[in-house]
Symmetry: C2
Subunit: 404 residues, 2 copies
């Protein structure tokens, strides 16, 4: 895996790879929003894979897109913001199917080949007249530079569109991967809808496409939220159309490491952008736990700290309240000996064997004033470890989430 | 169980039962606080029982008091606020033992007979000189009407002292139960320290005392916080000195139902006071889940809703956001069919079989404007049920918890 062969494409998104068109338009779902409907189209029938919410209450578009992913082939995805089409019963399913049918009729493909995503308020029926008119408009505006418009149209309380794209040489072929995402209410312990649409012109076996997406999501988007605390609508889709004409990468290809690394980098960048643009976020914190009885126990500790409301409040106040962190470690459910715990902020040791060190308070305070810092916990019990990313929580988060 | 035989004692607290003295004084742990050290003393050696934090990181006073409770006998409990004496290593244990020894020397009893509680900032050593002088002062001020002073001294960010007391006739004897508590950061998913000290003049067998305390705490204090999300210092202690001279109530006494009901009422009142006085709380919400596959699954659903940050934010904004509630039900981990869920706010059905009913939005909005309302969820899967109490979350909560 030579990192040198990877080159990020500035301002690139879903239309960076060969053979993809996109658009983003306004159809008036949520008044005052610049745009609220996005379309991403592969000019050739593409292989697809997807990762969906684990929530047992699944929105209609999730149910519909899961069927498409099961078949493994698609031409397009249509996405609306402003309305989640969740908890809308059989009418919701009909509406999501209608979005696919209308899109397919304009593109001249089968409705089975169109995925659907929605994000926004739960429990309200879609304004289908507006959406149908919107899909027509979006189809007319499809173009090879439409990635950014699409990325803008899927935003909800996001403040900036989130895109990433890169080129990677595999043998003598240049492969491109692009993507867009939305997040916003990404602050644990509740995850507002995360959407991610990834496109690539690489040729990949369907089995490998599915496998590599799952493992990359596990290492990126799943490290910035709580297991199970997913919204009704979370969806990450990847399209691969093979136009780069590389030798197809399969489960046993020597090239699969290079591709995986590239895909992980795109997802990682999108996940970081989502985190940094979280509602009311002022700090991004990397938590690394080591010395746990197992990796699973390290994860319990990392998530317990990263989701502690009291810890997150203290970071917002730029207070390195390590006492609250030890408390969160204690109730994490992991095997812990309070007299063995070490804790470091950006390399400064604050706690040694469970008690405060002599490290100057002013040094630690300086650390938590930064917009990004790291927290290292060593439990000194075993060799389990886990890395997790979280944020502070602010009064602004509460303000944003008080109403709609 | 005749409820008629129970009579609440207005403004009564830990000194309401026969044979108890208390005091609350200032020793200057936290500058500007009116008082910060409380003492409760039984004039006769009492039987004791206790419920302690499940957190694996336990404060020194918890470790010390657990030893006293194991022996089952005590004369007093000394409590300080402003400093949790947690994560203070062996010096913390020595300090907690010293608090017991100093108290015992003034009371003329064994240090083994003195319990210790602390609440406040984690990870700072106790100012022992001030505390020793404070204990002397508190011992001098012990009196039969000191309950309220003690209840005030244990407050941290509480805005009102929390006390309850009642009389209950058992056979021809009048038994009195009194209590005090502190809470404040009681808003899940993180529980700041809860302390509760209960006194009674009832004669109870040690075995029954322990059993009835555990079952009553389970039905009261444990219904307003998350399992395991307990602080490093949570402690609930009960003293029973037998001065009411009733026939000792044991595990098989016919009278045990009456006593349990009375103790439960005292704990319930204290728990409610703690909830209503939670940091920044504007709403108290009762969640009742029925129709779950088991009681345990009903509990999962109730806690998932009651601890959802997004749900709590919406209540703060007086928005009956049932979509977020369905989302929290979906990720609770319980067995759920989204097409069967019914949801009622104060009896108004908002969701039937997973979709919105025709109930007027204005009626539901009026409900969530109230300072207290109830939420009923029916999963229509089995017969499991669970009741849970929670609150909204406000910008003020974040503000309070930003710094110390």
């Amino acid at each position: 895996m030579k990192e040198e062969s990877i080159e990020f494409i500035k301002s690139g998104g879903v239309t960076a790879p060969r053979g993809y068109l996109a658009s983003g338009i306004s159809c008036g779902i949520k008044p005052g929003k610049k745009s609220d409907l996005a379309l991403v189209v592969s000019q050739h029938l593409a292989d697809i894979a997807g990762v969906f919410t684990q929530n047992k209450v699944k929105a209609a578009p999730v149910i519909v897109s899961m069927q498409r992913v099961k078949k493994g082939k698609a031409r397009a995805v249509v996405v609306n913001s402003g309305n989640a089409n969740a908890c809308t019963g059989s009418r919701g399913i009909e509406d999501a199917e209608k979005m696919a049918t209308v899109t397919a009729s304009f593109l001249g493909c089968s409705p089975d080949e169109v995925c659907v995503c929605s994000t926004g308020r739960i429990g309200v029926y879609l304004p289908m007249k507006k959406i149908i008119r919107g899909i027509e408009k979006a189809c007319k505006q499809l173009n090879v530079e439409g990635g950014k418009d699409a990325a803008e149209a899927i935003m909800t309380t996001d403040t900036v569109p989130k895109q990433a794209a890169l080129k990677v040489k595999i043998e003598d072929k240049e492969i491109i991967i692009g993507g867009m995402a939305k997040g916003a209410g990404m602050i644990a312990p509740n995850l507002a809808t995360t959407l991610g649409i990834i496109t690539t012109d690489a040729a990949l076996s369907p089995e490998y496409l599915n496998s590599v997406l799952h493992s990359c999501v596990q290492e990126t988007f799943n490290r910035i939220s709580i297991d199970g605390d997913t919204s009704t609508n979370d969806t990450i889709l990847v399209f691969s159309n093979g136009l780069a004409k590389n030798t197809t990468i399969g489960m046993d290809s020597p090239q699969k490491g290079i591709f995986k690394n590239a895909l992980r980098l795109v997802l990682d960048r999108l996940a970081r952008e989502v985190l940094e643009d979280g509602e009311g976020v002022t700090k991004v914190v990397e938590i690394f736990v080591q010395g746990a009885a197992s990796d699973k126990e390290a994860e319990l500790v990392a998530r317990s700290i990263g989701n502690s409301l009291l810890v997150k409040c203290s970071w917002n106040g730029e207070d390195p309240n390590w006492g609250r962190i030890l408390c969160a470690i204690g109730y994490s459910g992991a095997n812990v000996d309070q007299n063995k715990i070490d804790l470091f902020y950006n390399g400064f040791q604050v706690v040694a064997s469970g008690v405060r060190t002599e490290t100057k308070e002013s040094l630690i305070k300086k650390t938590v004033k930064m917009p990004m810092f790291s927290l290292l916990i060593d439990l000194h019990i075993g060799s389990g470890q886990y890395r997790f990313f979280t944020t502070d929580i602010s009064e602004r988060y509460v303000r944003i989430n008080k109403g709609e």
